[in-house]
């Protein structure tokens, strides 16, 4: 288990009752157990990956402007720590699809606004034509 998953489990334990105490004790037992041996990589590579992910996570969090909600921040952090580069790429694709879906009505709105401006211009053209033809008719 990694820190992100652990944090999720810990946050999910509410209250101060027997159940909470039992669940917390279970977490402590699990987290005190010796960690499972990392895959086939040497430990220094795991340390290199941990250090890089920590720095990337911090940089990504800092790159998000103020006003971005907690859910998005947690989602980005989880992509860095749970899935790594593949997860970040998948998250980008997913977010891009969301933006595109939202931009569809925006394009429709731009079309409507442009058509409306054209109709207003046509009305002004008709006003000018009225003025021109009135002047023509008034000539002796």
């Amino acid at each position: 288990m990694n820190r992100t998953e652990g944090r999720r489990l810990l946050v999910a334990i509410h209250g101060q009752d027997d159940d909470a105490a039992r669940e917390l004790r279970a977490l402590i037992r699990a987290w005190q157990a010796p960690p499972a041996a990392p895959g086939s990589q040497p430990p220094w590579q795991a340390a290199a990956a941990e250090a890089l992910a920590e720095l990337v996570g911090a940089a990504a969090a800092a790159a998000l402007p103020e006003g971005v909600g907690t859910d998005s921040r947690e989602r980005l952090a989880a992509a860095v720590t749970l899935g790594g580069p593949d997860d970040l790429a998948a998250l980008s694709v997913e977010l891009e699809a969301r933006v595109e879906a939202l931009q569809q009505p925006r394009a429709e709105l731009a079309l409507l606004q442009a058509r409306r401006r054209c109709l207003e211009l046509k009305l002004r053209c008709l006003d000018h034509l009225d003025a021109i033809f009135r002047a023509e008719r008034a000539q002796p």
Binding site: T4, L10, L24, W31, A48, A53, V80, R98, V99, C125
Partner: protein
């Protein structure tokens, strides 16, 4: 005197006296029975006299029972208060225990690896590729943070995160440019309403233009029929080009109208 010696009239008189006496006796007996019956009825009509002694005894018994119950209740209340106090103490103890356990969890959490296994493998693969791409040896370092800081590794890795960061910023906060409305998600969500409003305005303008053209078409001829039709264009780019044409046409017609107005005023002055 022997009764047989008495005359029939004497016997009759005697018998009458007996009968009268008998009648009086029966009358008295009847009166007495009536009086007794009346008394019985009167006695039945009023409530019987309560047995005060029995009642007092009963009341005393009830009072004794009540006192016993009160005593019992007081005992139970005291027991309850003690139990409640104990429960409060146990709750506080439990809360302290849970807080301690939570603190211990936080300590252990900090010691857990940051990366889940797929992420660890992914970042190691990325680091291997990056080292290969920059012709560096991927080998143990004493301080990885320092190592990365000197080689702009994080900047390179951020290329993976930046598209997601940019999309999150656009979705949540928006911008003033082409990509998304300023205001982010609320502005995105307001779009359908704004589209409906714009569509209604467009319909109204379309009706107005159609009515104006129908009124003047027989007088002005082809010129009104030749005015560009924004509904003939399908794409935004085409409509924008058409808008440019209309802007130019409107300016030209405006100049003609101004000149025609001026000419008319001059003729009026001269005429």
């Amino acid at each position: 005197m022997n009764p047989s010696d008495r005359s029939p009239s004497e016997r009759l008189a005697e018998r009458l006296v007996e009968l009268a006496a008998r009648r009086d006796t029966l009358g008295e007996q009847r009166q007495r029975r009536l009086r007794e019956r009346r008394r019985e009825l009167q006695a039945a009509a009023v409530s019987p006299e309560p047995d005060l002694t029995a009642l007092a005894a009963r009341a005393a018994a009830v009072a004794r029972q009540a006192a016993e119950r009160r005593e019992e209740l007081a005992g139970l209340s005291a027991e309850l208060r003690t139990a409640e106090e104990r429960a409060r103490q146990l709750d506080a103890e439990l809360a302290r225990g849970v807080a301690e356990l939570r603190t211990r969890c936080e300590e252990l959490l900090a010691g857990l690896p940051l990366l889940a296994e797929p992420a660890r493998q992914g970042w190691i693969a990325w680091l291997s590729a990056w080292h290969q791409g920059t012709r560096r040896a991927f080998e143990p370092q004493a301080d990885w943070a320092l190592y990365y800081g000197e080689r702009r590794t994080v900047d390179a890795a951020m290329a993976l995160a930046s598209p997601a960061v940019e999309r999150i910023r656009l979705l949540e906060l928006g911008d003033d440019g082409e990509d998304g409305p300023a205001g982010g998600l609320p502005a995105w969500q307001a779009l359908p309403g704004e589209i409906a409003r714009q569509q209604a305005e467009l319909d109204r303008s379309e009706r107005e233009v159609a009515a104006r053209i129908a009124a003047v078409a027989p007088l002005y001829g082809r010129i009104v029929a030749d005015l560009p039709d924004p509904f003939a264009a399908a794409s935004l780019h085409q409509i924008q080009r058409l808008e440019g044409l209309l802007i130019s046409l409107e300016a030209t017609l405006g100049r003609f109208a101004a000149s025609a107005r001026m000419e008319r005023q001059m003729l009026e002055v001269l005429g």
